[in-house]
């Protein structure tokens, strides 16, 4: 069939061109939505930005805001789409990621996530005011952010709080892979079949309603 020939030649050429161009522009910026997710590892917060499972946000701007809207810190994601920072304060943290081409999203890390697993039942709310008080009554999560417990001078016997801090630290270390896996499982991702079929259903429904209205008007 000679009439098909130009079409086929054209298709092959264009497909090759597309492939070739794709090699030269491997930008991941084509996705429609950027996701940002954060989890706590020890005294640091890990932030991950990604367009999809395989496309991470490289060099995206990360900004962290406190509950009062004040900017606490900022940085850029690395080539794995990760950015980590030391917990600046134990309040809700709003993490805003700005990727290229108008993509932006945020994630709020709740204060109780920052407190860490073992130290949620803290006896005193603000113990960091006096240095000597910190050694004695600091809740388990605190020494890691303020001053490492190793630096404590002349505490020879292991008191209860010290022990708790050590257990907490060891647990953190052991649980870290698990926490990371959980975080990855919890990460938000793209739409599923329900959303897609739901959308198609909506379009059919709108069509039906409009056609019904029109047909009633005509009669």
């Amino acid at each position: 069939m000679p009439s098909v020939k130009p079409m086929r030649t054209f298709m092959v050429l264009a497909a090759l061109a597309g492939l070739w161009l794709g090699m030269f522009f491997p930008t991941p910026a084509l996705a429609h939505k950027v996701f940002v997710y954060a989890w706590v590892e020890g005294d640091r917060v890990q932030v991950e930005g990604y367009f999809s499972r395989s496309q991470k946000v490289q060099g995206g701007r990360v900004e962290v805001f406190g509950p009062d809207g004040r900017r606490l810190l900022a940085g850029k994601t690395d080539e794995k789409g990760l950015f980590s920072f030391k917990i600046p304060q134990k309040t809700d943290l709003k993490i805003v990621l700005t990727a290229s081409m108008g993509h932006k999203n945020d994630y709020t890390l709740k204060a109780d996530e920052l407190a860490g697993g073992g130290s949620t039942s803290r006896p005193t709310p603000a113990p960091a005011s006096k240095p000597e008080a910190r050694l004695g009554t600091a809740p388990a999560g605190e020494p890691r952010t303020a001053s490492p417990p190793v630096a404590a001078p002349a505490v020879s016997q292991i008191d209860e709080d010290r022990l708790r801090a050590m257990i907490d630290e060891a647990l953190d270390r052991k649980l870290q892979p698990l926490i990371r896996a959980m975080a990855q499982a919890n990460e938000p991702h793209g739409p599923g079949l329900t959303e897609i079929l739901g959308g198609l259903g909506y379009i059919l429904g709108i069509l039906g309603v409009v056609m019904y209205m029109r047909s009633r008007g005509k009669r």
Partner: protein
């Protein structure tokens, strides 16, 4: 091609919304309601097209289909894309409701341009003219959308050239793929359902 919420400034969002409303009104006035099912089918295609990822080299791209919408729907592309984007925003969280107007304009305005600039050529019986016109429609619609998107970002304070270059470079593979897709679709329709290619605007 979806701009997220909280990126653009209020004047840009507002003017986008105004243009989108105007375009939608024109589209609804021009629509030949007997062909509404065709509009619904194309809206559905647009709605799911963004989920169809085509691997290109190490990256992957997705179809937008606004060139095809333009050739087949003309001004009606505005209401069709509006519905598609509302559903994408609500169900997929692509874009957002405040940026809806800007996103509609970014994708629908090039469709209308394609309709008037290339519609007649794409329907022509000369094979090469038809193929190349529909390819240019698919390619050019994305190009124009990219420029509009860069313009929207620029009006919010970014400098034009870096943004435009980034947006366009990122979309070059999509342009080519859409060009091919539209060319193939139009040739296919010409063979199987030539009446679908006739302009959808009501004759009055």
């Amino acid at each position: 091609m979806h701009i997220s919420e909280g990126v653009l400034s209020a004047p840009v969002l507002l003017s986008g919304a105004v243009v989108a409303v105007a375009g939608t009104a024109i589209g609804l006035r021009k629509l030949d309601y007997d062909r509404l099912p065709q509009v619904a089918v194309l809206t559905s295609a647009f709605f799911v097209a963004s989920l169809v990822h085509i691997p290109v080299g190490p990256s992957s791209v997705h179809l937008i289909l606004n060139g095809l919408m333009g050739l087949l729907l003309g001004w009606v592309a505005f209401p069709a894309i509006l519905v598609g984007l509302i559903l994408q925003a609500v169900l997929f969280q692509y874009g957002g409701l405040t940026v809806l107007g800007v996103n509609v304009v970014v994708m629908a305005l090039p469709a209308v341009v394609c309709h008037y600039g290339l519609g007649a050529a794409a329907r022509s019986n000369m094979r090469y003219l038809s193929i190349s016109a529909s390819f240019v429609a698919g390619f050019g619609a994305i190009l124009l959308s990219g420029l509009l998107m860069a313009a929207a970002l620029v009006l919010t304070g970014e400098s034009f050239w870096p943004v435009a270059r980034l947006v366009l470079a990122a979309h070059v593979p999509v342009m080519v793929i859409e060009g091919v897709f539209v060319a193939v679709s139009v040739q296919f329709l010409k063979k199987v359902r030539p009446e679908l290619l006739e302009t959808i605007h009501a004759k009055r």
